[in-house]
């Protein structure tokens, strides 16, 4: 199978280039990551992140034939050749397919991604009904892979000011949690022309999320809550 892979090592390359590979695959090679492991056995200088190989750790997000996704759960059979692999767009490249995710995590951290509740904790668990718990479905499963934020034009232009889909999804995960008491502080923090309102509902984020999550809907809910508390 044929691949064309973005290569750049600041130690020796003056600029990035695309390198072609042709690898013989085994029948057991089902996913793109399997092929990348084979390429790396031939050319150990190709750098990429990977760990779980089952789509739960969020390490191996990359741009695959123009679309962001996780190499480990992208089927080789579904890919057009030569498969073009590039680092996630919009973030600084450290080397090859490895990008600097600082900006992405900084935005995630900026929404205070932890439960806030100042009431003394009960002896046992805090109670939550199954229906209240269900509100968190589709929110807590995010693996912080950054496929969404790095396909969002608003995030490309304002990565320092716009929280981006992943961060906003996380913000809503806490707002939606009946155990969290900081909803109004969270809304205050987001009520800003950039932090939240740069989202123009372009929906790229929903299209690419490998976990099938829907940041746009979460963002819509946050906007609704803001309107609601004004009236």
């Amino acid at each position: 199978m044929r691949f064309s892979v973005y290569r750049y090592d600041p130690d020796k390359d003056s600029k990035p280039y695309m390198k072609d590979y042709e690898v013989a695959l085994e029948p057991s090679d089902r996913m793109l990551l399997d092929a990348l492991v084979r390429i790396k056995a031939l050319d150990d200088s190709l750098s990429l992140r990977r760990s779980c190989r089952e789509g739960v750790c969020g390490s191996d997000a990359m741009n695959i034939n123009g679309r962001n996704g996780l190499a480990c759960i992208t089927r080789l059979a579904d890919l057009k050749e030569p498969v073009e692999l590039r680092p996630l767009p919009g973030l600084p490249v450290i080397r090859d397919l490895v990008v600097d995710m600082s900006q992405f995590f900084k935005q995630y951290h900026s929404i205070k991604p932890y439960l806030q509740n100042t009431a003394p904790a009960p002896e046992k668990e805090r109670l939550q009904s199954p229906a209240e718990r269900e509100e968190l479905d589709g929110l807590y499963e995010c693996i912080l892979c950054a496929c969404c934020s790095t396909s969002c034009p608003s995030f490309w232009w304002n990565p320092d000011k716009f929280v981006g889909p992943a961060g906003l999804l996380a913000a809503y995960r806490f707002i939606a949690d009946t155990r969290d008491q900081a909803t109004s502080e969270r809304l205050d923090d987001l009520e800003d022309p950039y932090r939240l309102f740069r989202c123009h509902s372009i929906m790229n984020c929903v299209d690419v999320c490998p976990k099938g999550l829907n940041p746009t809907r979460a963002i819509g809910r946050i906007k609704e809550l803001m309107v609601k508390r004004m009236v």
Binding site: S51, G55, K112, Y114
Partner: protein
């Protein structure tokens, strides 16, 4: 060339469940703590845990920590230390409540309490019937737990060194541990982390086997570092083969599937576990189920064209239950097995999953080694928790859900031990002159090696050897031959070469360094297995089919130096409960 030195009160290596739980304790105590991780914390392998956390909350019916303790000891085939097991089972409910308070999105019952599901080997009233003890968030418990713990650490302002790989443990002539050397992946820079206390939470090494449920990063670095620094590794012959890895892919299908009512079938459509374990059936402990499956396959009753796997049936649970309780499993089955479990069974085989052994500790998370006449003398300044440690709560076979419990309970306990130790031992002891020599030598060798052995090929040879010679069923001649082959693998691993010499994010170098650690673990495993002349828990030898409590009710300790073995007794004295005397194990 001298390396930059950074001083900390404590350094935690690893940011999985155990490392994050320990780090939280240290950060909240206001200690200057550095937490190192090869990957961003939420990418640690705890994220992949599916089924749940074992704790006797009793939300679904009567339960008690004493029953949990009995099940764990029986599951361990009596090799677990009963003081540590009592400690874990007593502390487990508290650990779960705490996690809930941190924001963990547990599944709920109608009364608002945490939902618990049945799991293998967990029973009511000392083995009478299955109990619902596994606290879960659908089949994404590890993900929910790891993210919750990370989030709590963000709140506590924990200082992370992300994508820093620890290379070697620093130990002075007296044996005291003074920190680690570590390399920043992005720049290739190496620092000395000079710490008053060092805590390892580096996880497992399941990548020594060819077929594994483990992530690529599970390379046993903590064990390799400890072994190179003269610390023995305990009970390394005991590896858990999980009954249900997806055939061919290795990816795990949680035991929670059987907990929710799924069961295993051979090619005749027979529910064969009824023959092997009449009471617990498909929920017998993992070593028992894996052996039963391997026996079915060996005797020609495997399913599929090659008769090489078993079928896991769950369609009878209905689409609704599957979508609600096992959504991740459905996703995995579709992606990696090409079946939709709502309609068709999933092809599964026993797959290497968990390392019961590790760095020897007591139940405070302090690393202990034989010294003089003492078999468990504390190594000052050194702690271990989670899968890399061996307390030993899992003995010869771990029960499902008990690892996440272990991470929470011993992560916290080891953090507390560090706090106590730092209070009593102020000030940094001086680093020895040779603190970084070993790491420097390893890196220099890799940089200088021309045309060495391929890391990829040596690794593949190791994985094949382990798989063929030290699997579910073990044979004396295969083990002896396995030891010889591992010696060849180790010799080749000492001559690996990499083409990539870049300083920037050089993953070839990282994989070569990881291979050094994998090889220590694989060698410890093969040598310990070859020496243990009995069958106990996950260690099953054809020439000694029975457990032998007279000669082998003891822990193995493997030393890298001369690949030597020593042994220490099992602690059969609980903290407050009565001893559970070893007896015949039936499910």
């Amino acid at each position: 060339m001298s390396l930059p030195v950074r001083k900390f009160d404590a350094v935690v290596v690893g940011a999985g469940g155990a490392g994050l739980r320990a780090a939280l304790q240290l950060s909240e105590a206001g200690l200057k703590t550095a937490v190192l991780s090869k990957v961003f914390p939420t990418r640690s392998h705890t994220v992949a845990a599916q089924g749940g956390i074992g704790a006797s909350l009793g939300n679904m019916g009567e339960d008690s920590w004493l029953w949990h303790m009995y099940d764990t000891i029986k599951g361990s085939d009596y090799l677990g230390d009963q003081d540590a097991i009592e400690f874990m089972c007593r502390m487990a409910p508290q650990a779960v409540y705490e996690l809930e308070h941190f924001g963990m999105p547990f599944d709920r019952n109608d009364d608002g309490s945490v939902y618990q599901r049945p799991f293998g080997g967990h029973s009511q009233n000392f083995g009478e019937r299955p109990v619902q003890r596994s606290c879960c968030a659908a089949d994404r418990t590890g993900h929910a737990m790891l993210h919750t713990l990370y989030q709590r650490n963000v709140r506590a302002n924990t200082l992370f060194f992300v994508e820093w790989m620890a290379l070697d443990l620093i130990r002075d002539a007296s044996g005291q541990v003074l920190g680690v050397t570590a390399m920043e992946m992005e720049t290739g820079e190496v620092w000395i982390f000079h710490a008053r206390a060092t805590l390892f939470a580096t996880g497992g090494a399941g990548r020594i086997y060819a077929a594994s449920t483990n992530a690529f990063i599970n390379t046993g670095d903590g064990l390799g570092m400890a072994a190179r620094a003269g610390i023995p590794l305990e009970d390394m012959e005991f590896w858990q083969f999980h009954p249900t890895g997806v055939a061919g892919a290795g990816v795990l299908i949680t035991e929670g599937v059987r907990g929710e009512g799924g069961y295993l079938l051979n090619k005749n459509g027979e529910r064969f576990m009824e023959r092997y374990a009449p009471t617990m059936k498909d929920l017998a402990s993992r070593d028992v189920v894996s052996r039963a499956m391997a026996t079915e396959i060996k005797e020609g009753r495997g399913a599929g064209k090659e008769a090489d796997h078993i079928l896991l049936k769950l369609d009878h649970l209905g689409a609704e239950v599957i979508e609600k309780r096992l959504p991740g499993i459905r996703e995995i089955a579709r992606k990696f097995a090409n079946v939709d479990p709502v309609k068709d069974p999933i092809p599964v085989v026993p797959t290497c999953h968990y390392q019961m052994g590790g760095i020897p500790t007591n139940y405070h998370g302090e690393v202990v080694v034989p010294r003089g006449g003492e078999h468990a003398a504390v190594v000052p300044g050194f702690y271990a928790a989670g899968e890399c440690g061996c307390a030993s709560v899992h003995g010869a076979n771990r029960l499902g859900t008990n690892s996440l419990t272990d991470l929470l309970v011993f992560g916290r306990a080891s953090g507390e031990s560090v706090i106590r130790y730092l209070r009593e031992n102020p000030g940094h002891k001086d680093l020895p002159g040779d603190a970084a020599d070993l790491s420097r030598a390893r890196l220099a060798r890799l940089d200088g090696q021309a045309g060495g052995e391929s890391v990829h090929e040596v690794g593949a040879e190791m994985r094949r050897t382990m798989q063929a010679h030290c699997g579910v069923f073990r044979f004396p001649d295969m083990l002896a031959e396995g030891v010889r082959r591992m010696q060849q693998v180790a010799a080749r691993a000492a001559r690996t070469g990499i083409a990539d010499k870049s300083r920037t994010f050089n993953t070839a170098r990282i994989e070569a360094l990881e291979l050094d650690n994998l090889v220590e673990v694989a060698m410890a495993t093969m040598v310990s297995a070859d020496a243990r002349h009995e069958s106990r828990g996950a260690h099953d030898r054809s020439d000694c089919p029975k457990r032998d409590d007279v000669n082998w009710l003891k822990h193995s300790l493997w030393y890298k130096d001369g690949s030597r073995l020593a042994y220490k007794p099992v602690n059969l004295t609980p903290l407050t409960a009565q001893t559970f005397e070893p007896k015949v194990r039936a499910y």
